[in-house]
């Protein structure tokens, strides 16, 4: 196979008229390759494979009326676009999951009578004289607040200071 003129060596012309595009797995995650090639399904026939090192190989054959160079050029642009979108998604994933999770928690709905029937409301909670069962954030906020308040005349309390994050 020979390189496709005007493109890097990772674009190889196939004997059957198609082209193999090698996408390095460390640069192009599988999701980006799927996404980019999906966008070209109406213009080309696509087959995906991997080499021994786990890199992706996109085999492209233009559909009738399409030129190889145009389809390959479009794939190149789509790949970059898909990689950007994948990175963006990864950065926002936690936020998206967090919002979705909160929405789903709400969507589970209010407890039914069945749920409430055998729930024990009489238990008064935990006996916690050392205030261990206080969330770190709550305790840290309290420590911060205490630190900014004027020094009290009496002993300010026995809670250990928490280290800041």
């Amino acid at each position: 196979m020979t390189a496709l003129r005007g493109f890097p060596n990772s674009y190889s012309l196939r004997d059957d008229g198609g082209v193999d595009v090698l996408c390095h797995a460390r640069i192009y995650p599988a999701e980006a390759v799927f996404s980019a090639t999906y966008a070209l399904l109406d213009r080309s026939y696509v087959r995906l494979d991997r080499d021994e090192d786990g890199n992706h190989i996109v085999e492209l054959h233009p559909r009738e009326g399409e030129t190889l160079r145009e389809v390959v050029g479009s794939l190149t642009n789509e790949l970059l676009s898909a990689v950007c979108r994948t990175h963006l998604h990864q950065r926002k994933e936690v936020l998206l999951e967090s919002v979705t999770l909160a929405a789903m928690s709400g969507a589970v709905g209010r407890p039914s009578l069945d749920d409430l029937e055998d729930f024990d409301f009489s238990d008064g909670g935990l006996d916690d004289p050392l205030l261990i069962a206080t969330s770190w954030e709550e305790k840290y906020e309290r420590s911060k607040a205490l630190a900014t308040e004027p020094e009290p005349e009496s002993d300010a309390g026995s809670e250990p200071d928490e280290e800041s994050p």
Partner: protein
């Protein structure tokens, strides 16, 4: 009986603030008390025997005792995944034990206050360590987990020392996962896994030496998790994870149901594809692999592995129809590969495979892609007559057209189709058509006896068989006096033929074996340590135009009763396969070696066929 645990996350708030916290970004979310309450009931309905609460930190929830009480009222045991600080209160521990507290998995990341507090960013050590004293000696299933980051990797022996006074407390070292805080502070926290493996192995060795001679013996109290098994030579069986702790399902806050525990956060890179340890190996955390690649991995290729696994009967339900019983039970809790629903008349049997000889991915492939699952209808420890002992299982017609077809674990039915005899007919034909000199690699117990005997008798075939097991060769010599049989491995044979110096062993008083018209590798390909060695010797073994026939079996799963599984798993049979190649993998290896082999015939394994594949080549040197 081993408890089956359901893990329920109650929220993500915590009184510690570990730098590597998985749920760093959602710490503000706490689950509704009633949601947890409802899920405890669902755990009971799914047949679990224990519900384990996790978070965040479940013990800071004021509802803790109410949840424990609710679980106990339903007949469930109770467990906690915890930093343990609240369990330093003796009264709380006593109350929880009254509500059937049976399991505690406690996090301790340093053997001193300085290291532990640095890791959890709180003054927590005295309380967490105090909890160990409260929990030890109560007969609980209680273990300590130490997450290994850059901060404590050089101080693991200190954790071992801290636990020496508690002989009933096992300790596990876990590679930190690049998730949540671990991901945000990747460079700050994540050490090279090879370095973690070395330090963990040293800590295990140190702990063993400190407790050697303890009475009663402390046993194998040190384990590891999240570390590829190839980096823990000699300690592979100390691997520990949610499954080894008996967790079957889990549910996060906001999730509508329980889901199977899985390894989706980890990856076995392509390099691991033929590793003998891949079944139970956790591989690498995906985010770690994305950053560092696979250069630290050392796949192990020379150990035998299993070629079958069991699905053991767990429960039977009556099929009331017309609605699918699997859909009615809810799809979420059932594992795609490891669960198996089999419809037998009006009853639907639920089986599950807990094997660690195969990964989830391999099991799913055997079940769904290759279609190689069978109902064992024999009473033998190991079926030896597949045609009589096994019934093939096929996806039920109930599933046809179901919108959940691809994601569902599926409903299967036994079919009385002679798949094994049918697929072997072609092999029998090929053996019957042989002419000239034949080398049978791995002749073993001598199949196709009646076909070969007559060919040798009338002079059509000159047969040479090799097998590495002297006792098999001796037995076969009695049955096949007409055959020339040699005790050797294919690799030894290849070595001596390809160097041109055929050596005579004491056992091998025959003249050099020369070249052959046909080389047969019948159900022995996966028994070869190095099949490439045999292939590379073909130019010295085959005449031009000669043929190479490869036939072997892929891995398969057997649906069995508890008694059948127990009998098989406690039997003496050892592993003999070095891999579970199908036709595709064997063909790929032949292709990689660029040998002058022309493919004549290929039959791969697929649903509707048996687990036997076939490849036939002609040796065509230019």
């Amino acid at each position: 009986m081993r408890p089956t645990k359901a893990l329920v996350k109650v929220g993500y708030g915590c009184n510690d603030h570990c730098s590597f916290c998985h749920t760093l970004d959602v710490r503000h979310i706490q689950g509704e008390a009633v949601e947890v309450h409802r899920k405890i009931r669902r755990a009971k309905a799914l047949g679990h025997s224990m519900v384990v609460l996790s978070g965040g930190e479940p013990t800071i929830r004021p509802e803790l005792l109410a949840w424990a009480k609710h679980a106990a009222a339903l007949g469930l045991d109770f467990g906690l995944v915890t930093n343990g600080r609240m369990l330093s209160y003796p009264k709380l521990v006593a109350a929880l034990v009254r509500y059937r507290l049976r399991y505690v998995y406690l996090s301790l990341h340093g053997g001193t206050a300085k290291i532990h507090n640095l890791m959890v960013r709180s003054h927590a050590f005295e309380q967490t360590f105090g909890a160990i004293a409260q929990l030890s000696g109560r007969g609980l299933d209680f273990s300590v987990n130490c997450v290994v980051t850059k901060h404590n990797v050089e101080h693991l022996e200190g954790v071992v020392d801290a636990l020496l006074p508690y002989p009933d407390v096992p300790l596990k070292f876990s590679m930190v996962e690049p998730k949540g805080g671990g991901k945000s502070l990747f460079d700050h926290l994540i050490p090279p896994v090879e370095h973690v493996a070395r330090r963990v192995a040293e800590a295990i060795e140190y702990g063993e030496s400190r407790t050697e001679g303890d009475a009663p013996p402390r046993g194998r109290w040190l384990s590891h998790g999240g570390i590829p098994l190839c980096l823990m030579p000699g300690l592979e069986d100390r691997f520990d994870d949610l499954r080894t702790h008996g967790f079957d399902t889990m549910t996060e806050i906001g999730e509508p149901d329980f889901f199977p525990v899985d390894d989706d956060n980890k990856i076995q890179p392509p390099k691991c594809a033929r590793c003998s340890l891949s079944g139970a190996c956790p591989g690498l955390y995906t985010a770690y692999y994305e950053r560092f690649g696979d250069q630290e991995l050392r796949p192990v290729m020379d150990r035998p592995r299993s070629n079958s696994f069991n699905y053991t009967l767990e429960a039977s339900l009556v099929d009331n129809g017309p609605r699918c019983a699997v859909l009615t039970a809810g799809l979420a809790p059932w594992e795609y590969g490891r669960h198996l629903f089999v419809k037998r008349g009006d009853v639907i049997e639920r089986y599950r495979s807990r094997t660690r000889d195969f990964s989830d991915r391999e099991i799913s492939s055997v079940k769904h892609e290759r279609g190689q699952i069978y109902l064992d209808v024999s009473s033998k420890a190991a079926p030896d007559d597949f045609a009589r002992d096994l019934l093939a299982l096929r996806r039920s017609s109930t599933c046809t057209g179901c919108p959940e077809f691809t994601g569902c674990t599926g409903l299967f039915e036994p079919v009385d189709a002679p798949v094994f005899e049918r697929d072997d007919v072609r092999v029998r034909e090929l053996v019957g058509s042989l002419r000239g000199r034949v080398l049978d690699v791995g002749c073993g117990e001598g199949p196709y006896s009646e076909v070969l005997a007559s060919l040798v008798a009338d002079g059509t075939v000159d047969y040479v068989g090799i097998d590495p097991h002297p006792e098999r060769i001796a037995a076969l010599r009695e049955r096949w006096p007409w055959a020339r049989l040699i005790t050797t491995t294919a690799e030894q044979l290849a070595a001596r033929t390809s160097t041109g110096h055929e050596r005579r062993d004491d056992d091998d008083a025959d003249p050099p074996i020369g070249r052959f018209d046909h080389v047969l590798v019948l159900r022995s390909w996966n028994h070869l340590r190095e099949p490439q060695t045999l292939l590379q010797a073909l130019d010295a073994l085959l005449v031009p135009g000669g043929t190479l026939t490869l036939v072997d079996n892929e891995a398969f799963g057997l649906a069995r009763s508890k008694e059948q599984s127990h009998r098989a798993e406690s039997g003496p049979a050892g592993f003999e396969h070095y891999r579970n190649d199908g036709a595709e993998q064997a063909e790929a290896l032949v292709g990689r070696l660029s040998l002058p082999l022309e493919l004549l015939e290929a039959e791969a394994v697929r649903p509707g066929r048996s687990n036997q594949w076939l490849l036939r080549y002609r040796w065509a040197p230019s």
